[in-house]
Symmetry: C2
Subunit: 722 residues, 2 copies
């Protein structure tokens, strides 16, 4: 493989973009994620290393991933002058992330205040081969001087999430050439042990250990000679065991045996295999190709390979946004990528929901319902962790009420949908029988109890909810929700019957354990038929929720040039009084259920809702869905525009908030646009098919996916597409 | 002076009381305050050093005093074994705070896990002579071994308030034998520079500097010989310059010139002078004597001597409670001590309110009123900083609405009251003319606009407020508030007339600047006469607020043995439905205005309200006021019981929350019980008088106070009291 369209590069140092690049240059291995922060101190840097499942309590917002001590810390003192981009002069700068293997390299030519010119090359990776291992290398080449050099590499136990500390000291000690720092989380009592070794190419270098409380540090002192390179490298092993979780599948490492070159080689081999299965090749559009690979890269580094007790946060492991909590972003946006290219990870993610059924049942019971109601935001143990209030970003002394944890309930159907989609793609019947069915049935049971009978209309309604479009909360009969629930109840009833007929040995104990009867299930079918489904026969229009059509239409052209969402500009109350959508809602429904309405109706609704949707600064979940629907309806210009919005959300930071972390749903959505949109992949009972429509200029679109245990290839050439 | 009744002693180490003793052993000098935490790490220790005025932002609660790096850090490694009360065996332990000079000494005989027995004596003080200087000494005496010893003393820039960090790194460097750590607060950009030197009695000891990022550390290595003592001592200079404030009045210190013995000597001299003016001698009751001195000590170490831009937080500088915010606790509870024994500090505190008139005017304007409305909670610049919501302590994911910042408005009159009290005691006419008057007039103006005319009753009312008793919020016509406002408006009108007549040169520009006219002021008098004042002629009862009498009476005997407040037990809503008071409210009014009602009426209300007041676990402001009123009414048993409640709030931690910080109002209240209660000191137009009533067993009560620039002595012997 060449580097073409594989390298994300920062060509010069722009201090104001430091947060953006920290996110973009995040590295990880499905267990750990580390932002692309500098090794040395820089004002405003926001280094973080998160590990799946390592949550600690936080007031009001329940829980958050606890930032681990920064394993990348490395200070360079050149005869008393400490390398820093704040002082001296940056004569050269280039940072690159190789998506092929996740190696991050920063090359700096730096002139110290006293005139020493030095080339420094920092490289690092988080081992794909061993989930516990992080490695780092620094090459120093003095250009115009010789002097003493001191290298300081510590582990700072005062790591914090922005400013909030989560760790208490347990122990720190020297062990041979290494040292160990032991900590535990303040509230959840999760044990963490980090071990470090620091090596140098200069065999005469002096090694010291500075036993500073909570910031033990290894030090190397050596002598630099003009034009002679020296190399130091570091290995850090991170052992952490979250409560009730079988994480840290990596083998125990003997730090004394670790070598940079051999570890990097093994790491690269595994990455090569990952890409063989996961790459989406786009020819004729370099920007799209690079963005597609960056999205896949960010999914590959966060998908949990060895645990079925964790999920992926909305901002992956790449930033503090949403505190590591998981949303429907996983099932509807990210999961398809895993289900189709790495079904084991897909299964792990769905198993997380299975294991957290008790929390979902507790939530349902607490709200007076039956079955399982999944939390809108989910963390370590599947309890609802959506904060009811959050500080208002424009004035943090004020609070804003967040209703999602109370009433954004479509997630229970989204998860059921994902279970069925996983099954359709993989044919993994064992999963469906042993775990998936219980998810679908228990959530169906929730819906059956949640539906509200309206006697006057003789129908079931679902009032006081939030749909995918969060600009409008506390609304009645959200079309997306109501249609999903009908599908859900019917599907659950069929699944029940299928289980009973095909897998009686598993069915009987399950039905008994869940106290589930034929009568109960036939009631689901009856109720499903009586759910109110908005649809105007005459116009073919689906009203997003009761009363939506009578809201005022906003001419979004008036706000051209804005850099904030319509909700940000008009305020929560203001935006709610207009028809402006945060993301497609009715179109989302049509995407997930293509057979519900004919293309004419879909087109009609598409034309109506598109100009009303804040695709630029609304939800980052919007553009990919919009792009797929536009492709389906043949509007390739709109499709490509929205594909690029999703593609640029992180790489170009077009929404202005990439610094908070990768938009995981947008990354997953981008893959779906290529596969389900442009390639038109469709899984049917008899097999799969494609129906390609490529954007202008694309000469090729190729990818692989797993279908029923066999890896399939799709390779579309523009010349072959009609 | 002997040590009798001057030493606060902890005789043995009880880990569960660590927070309590940290508070009790707080040291300070009117600028800095440092909790009595251990020098070495101990799980759960909550070290803090706060400096007046050094605030930084915090979400929802606006602002808090930022914890400075711990200047006391000192680790002792005995040939690889680190001294810690967690490991090994504590063979002997004694800690004492000498109230005479604020020297804190901890003596430990410790047996290491490997059997080394060592006597360690830690001593420290915060210089009374130089507000920037902190000093510490450690003597080590090995009892049964000789070995290498390593002493590590760092300054940790990751200092945090509980878990929240407030400091960003600026710089750290070695300077000769010292090092300097420079930081700045994250939001308010306050610069901090801490310099440290570390010395050793062993001249052959090796000194190193470990330049660990954000935790620079000095290290001494020496050899211990069995039964030979070595001594190390440390000096830390703290320079900090809050925004717009002329703090840090101490002279710049040259660390190279500092010596433990000479600094301690100077320090002691000044403390001796402080006590000459401030001591309250109680004979015949050792516990009362010690508690009285401890209270005075905690006021002396927090009263700002050199700044009129800072105030005292409710928990002084001794803990995180209330985030360093100031309340009426200062003016009504703590200020009298300063006004009478150290009028310069009294003047500084009132000047803080004067300088913050702009913030108070902003608050009034924002609420649609005229003049100045002081914030309920106040910090750096006098803005309102009461959080509207706080996490519920029993479930921090839930929030509790706090109304005090909106409607606990009596504070504006409390401040005016304190201005007049200061004037009456000191005769400081310059202050009154130049600053005090403006406070009184601008707050009167607020009240004139705040009063609500009730046409049906033909009277002014004040609705939707909180009185001193916060168990009942959003109530109408709180008696305390309404009576205070009448007094306030009348006093302001008199003051206006007096100023005009006596100080025309100052009056004219002031009246012009404030656009204040005779008409406006005569309206104050008219309105004052029409304010509704609850008083039932027949019963002599004052209803605390509209409808109070019809609330249900709670038999507090039912809750005997409780360890929580009635509000904590019944909940906010529950307690509000009963007559239970958090603290005396009507009695508070009678305390401040003894001439409003005759003794019979006072007795009547006392008898009614006393059994309804949660003096044990309600507000810590209650017992002292209760004690004074009981004394006035001759109920010496009740008086003494409540005096002791206040006396034991911190020393004995009878309320269970001393760990959060000293109850500053209780400390100031205790002084008032002795002086205004037991001694019955009264300031009248013609001079002062006492009217002593001593508790059983007290043989003597003696104190000094300043009256119109002259220091007066009171020395009461029980045998002379009728």
């Amino acid at each position: 493989m060449t580097n073409h369209n594989w390298m994300v590069v920062e060509e010069s140092f722009e201090p104001e973009r430091i947060a953006h690049y920290e996110t973009v240059f995040t590295q990880g291995n499905g267990f750990l994620g580390t932002r692309g922060s500098f090794e040395e101190y820089y004002p405003g840097k926001n280094n973080s290393t998160f590990a799946h499942g390592v949550f600690d309590d936080v007031a009001v917002s329940f829980t958050e991933l606890a930032n681990l001590p920064d394993w990348t810390e490395l200070f360079v003192d050149l005869d008393g002058e400490t390398f820093s981009l704040v002082s001296g002069e940056v004569l050269g700068y280039r940072r690159s992330l190789d998506l092929k293997d996740g190696l991050l390299v920063r090359e700096v030519r730096w002139k110290s205040p006293q005139g020493k010119v030095t080339d420094l090359t920092f490289s690092r990776f988080i081992s794909r081969a061993n989930e516990r291992l992080c490695m780092q290398k620094l090459e120093i080449l003095p250009q115009n001087y010789s002097c003493k050099v001191t290298l300081r590499a510590g582990l700072d136990g005062a790591a914090s999430n922005l400013d909030l500390k989560h760790w208490d000291s347990v122990d720190q000690r020297e062990e041979g050439k290494n040292f160990v720092l032991s900590l535990k989380t303040k509230a959840t009592n999760i044990k963490l042990k980090m071990s470090q070794t620091l090596c140098c190419s200069d065999e005469r270098a002096a090694h010291s250990y500075w036993n500073v409380f909570n910031h033990p540090t290894q030090v190397i002192e050596s002598n630099l000679k003009e034009r002679v390179k020296i190399t130091v490298w570091k290995a850090v092993v991170i052992e952490v065991t979250p409560f009730k979780q079988e994480l840290s599948a990596g083998t125990l490492v003997n730090l004394d045996d670790v070598q940079w070159d051999t570890e990097l080689e093994t790491h690269r081999k595994l990455w090569r295999v990952d890409w063989q299965h996961s790459d989406v090749v786009i020819e004729g559009d370099d920007e799209a190709q690079l963005a597609m690979r960056a999205s896949i890269y960010h999914l590959l580094i966060v998908g949990p390979r060895h645990s079925e007790r964790v999920n992926i946060g909305a901002k992956t492991l790449s930033g503090q946004g949403y505190r590591g909590h998981s949303f429907w972003d996983t099932e509807i946006f990210m999961l398809p990528f895993f289900t189709y290219t790495n079904p084991t990870i897909g299964r792990n993610l769905l198993s997380y929901r299975f294991h957290n059924l008790p929390g979902a049942m507790e939530k349902a019971a607490k709200n007076g319902f039956e079955g399982a109601q999944y939390p809108w935001e989910s963390a370590a143990d599947g309890r609802e962790v959506t904060p009811s209030w959050v500080p208002y970003h424009k004035d943090p002394t004020q609070l804003v009420r967040i209703w999602c944890g109370d009433i954004e309930i479509h997630i229970s159907s989204d998860i059921a949908y994902a279970v069925l989609q996983y099954w359709k793609a993989t044919g993994d019947e064992r999963f469906l029988v042993e775990r998936g069915a219980e998810i679908v049935l228990q959530t169906a049971r929730f819906w059956a109890s949640r539906l509200e009978w309206t006697e006057t209309e003789k129908r079931y309604e679902i009032k006081n909810v939030i749909g995918p479009d969060e600009n409008h909360d506390r609304i009645d009969n959200n079309a997306y929700t109501n249609y999903m629930v009908r599908w859900h109840l019917k599907t659950a009833a069929s699944l029940y019957a299928w289980l009973k007929a095909q897998h009686p040995a598993e069915f009987l104990p399950l039905a008994e354990r869940l106290s589930m009867t034929d009568e109960q299930v036939s009631e689901w079918t009856r109720k499903a038929e009586q759910i109110y489904l908005a649809f105007d026969e005459k116009s073919g229009m689906i009203e997003q929720f009761d009363g939506y059509f009578s809201l005022k239409t906003l001419d979004m052209q008036v706000f051209a040039g804005r850099t904030d969402s319509i909700q940000g500009i008009l305020g929560v109350e203001g935006a709610a009084q207009t028809q402006t959508l945060k993301q497609p809602d009715v179109l989302m429904l049509m995407y997930l259920h293509p057979d519900l309405f004919n293309l004419e109706i879909q087109k009609h609704n598409f034309d109506y809702y598109t100009p009303r949707t804040d695709l630029e600064y609304g939800s980052s979940l919007g553009p990919s869905i919009q792009a797929i629907m536009a492709t389906r309806l043949g509007d390739m210009q709109n499709a490509y525009k929205n594909f690029m919005r999703a593609a640029q959300a992180d790489l170009k930071d077009v929404r202005g908030n990439a610094g908070d972390g990768i938009h995981g749903a947008s990354a997953g959505g981008l893959w779906q646009v290529a596969v389900f949109g442009f390639a038109g992949l469709k899984i049917e009972d008899q097999g799969w098919s494609v129906d390609p429509k490529l954007p202008d200029g694309w000469t090729r679109l190729a990818f692989k996916f797993w279908y029923h245990g066999k890896e399939e290839s799709v390779d579309i050439r523009a010349k072959d597409v009609k």
